[in-house]
């Protein structure tokens, strides 16, 4: 079995000790710790699972490399970062939880850091995108005072908020610094 990492519609960036994958198709951002990043980078369709397990053991001082690898592949798969679903066979069928893995590899601080972590966050939606780019507005929830306007709460500077009038909108928010 040769796992293959997804390559379409994603952008990969190394940010300090993490590998960050921007999924432009599913609007998600995943940050992979060094263990998960190592496995994902070796899912090239050329290495078999057994070969990756050997490489993992060479790179990181772990005794349960196969279990750790399957746990990592499971997390990568759940994050839609692999091309195909993988199926385990034989005695390795069980996918271990973080707690079980911890028991296996030991409880030391160094060992905890070796556990695979795939942290995912949602990419910004329309309103979030606007607020992330600095100037955000949210509807105040109250009724509009004027039929031509919606009243929105907006950041004006230094984190302060005030009410502004937005024209031509039913659900007002700022995008690119404008009411839309």
């Amino acid at each position: 079995m040769k796992p293959l990492a997804r390559s379409n519609n994603i952008v990969v960036e190394e940010v300090f000790d993490e590998l960050v994958i921007y999924d432009l198709e599913r609007d998600r951002v995943h940050s992979l710790n060094p263990t998960a990043a190592f496995v994902w980078q070796h899912c090239d369709g050329k290495h078999t699972v057994d070969q990756i397990a050997i490489l993992l053991q060479q790179e990181f001082p772990v005794s349960q490399a196969v279990e750790l690898l399957w746990a990592t592949l499971d997390r990568l798969e759940k994050a839609h970062l692999l091309q195909e679903k993988l199926s385990q066979s034989g005695e390795n069928q069980k996918v271990y939880t973080r707690r079980e893995l911890l028991k296996m590899v030991g409880q030391g601080a160094g060992m905890i850091a070796l556990l695979p972590v795939v942290k995912s966050i949602n990419a910004p939606g329309p309103t979030q995108a606007a607020s992330l780019t600095g100037e955000g507005c949210t509807g105040c929830g109250g009724p509009a005072r004027h039929k031509r306007y919606e009243i929105c709460c907006c950041e004006t500077g230094n984190g302060r908020r005030r009410k502004i009038k937005c024209r031509r909108v039913s659900t007002c928010h700022f995008l690119g610094g404008r009411c839309v």
């Binding site: 952008v11 940010v15 960050v20 990419a123 230094n158 984190g159 302060r160 690119g176």
Partner: protein, 398 residues
Amino acid sequence: MRLKNNAKSMTSHHTLQPEEELLLCCARTQISAATVERVRALLLAGLDWGQVIALARHHRIQPLLYWHLRRIGLELVPQSTLTELQESYFSNAWLNHFLNKELNKIVCLFGAHNILAAPYKGPNLTALVYGNLSLRQSGDLDILVREQDVLKAKELLISQGYRPQFQLSEIEEAAYLQTQYEYNFISPDSRVAVEIHWGFAPRYFAHRFDMQQLWGRIKTTRLAGSKVLNFQPEDLLLILCIHGAKHCWSRLIWICDVAELLRVYPDLDWQQILKKAGPLSGELLLGLLLAHDLLDAPLPKEIEARRQTEPRVDALAVRVRQYLFQEADAPFERFKFHLELRSRLFDRVRYCFYLVTNISPIDLEILPLPPSLAFFYYPLRSIRLLSRYGLNPLKRML
């Protein structure tokens, strides 16, 4: 007032709040050893992190702040703050990649229909000047097209599901194209705002670029994996300075753009820049002084010499430094700022004249009039502007 009036250099830092000083130290891609030490000292002294985040969000430098804090002060920043900044960094990076993909799609679409399109600011500027799409916050896509291509570009965007910000009749649209400089569109899912530009500032800003010459200087380059039309750095510098001046330099990110451009292009042809700037030299000089005074950008000797002869611009730079960290949004102050940026009386009169006669879609929306009564828009606009710019300061004075 947090800065001394006569402050001209970073020595004025001691009058800043520590949170503001941290932002100034981090609003750059490369930090000197001395600045690293200063950041560490600020972190050790303790900061109001809520204020730091709010300021960084307003000034749009959250990614740079995260980048440097993660590197310099990992153990000195509260975990919750670091997590918040990290998530914001990732979300912004995702948005920039998403915008970049959309930008490529639009530029290809325009190209297929023989529309020359030069993206600037947004992801394009980030890749060109910051060298990393994750380090600058972008909110929209700015694309320059030739004036004769605006309506064709509009139709193409509409064919992709984009909707224009303003619904204009044919007559209104013709007037709009003559008096304005950008046409804004929103993507079907409201995620992407596209600004189609045929100029860089409203007509009342008075000085306009020679667009024909500018188009002649644009070159094709490869950026972030795609072929795009790009401005010469000398032109881009001027465009960034006009943009900053238009917004009265109220956000640090715009000053940061200028400083980073100067860092990436240390060998700019200053004689050519000053010649090109012509009547826009006030805008140019102001941008350069701010980048130098606040973010340590190198100031060439030609500009140093010009600084001595333009105390008016120097005084404006001091004013910007004063209100940069104060609450923004004072329309009358903006009006005054734009007036003071113009050295000649003729330019000031022209600014006022165009400001009053430049009918905007907002004027058309407030009171829809039939074409036969269109002349009423001029007094109506004057009243609207007076209420926006003039009445409140007058009330305060009384």
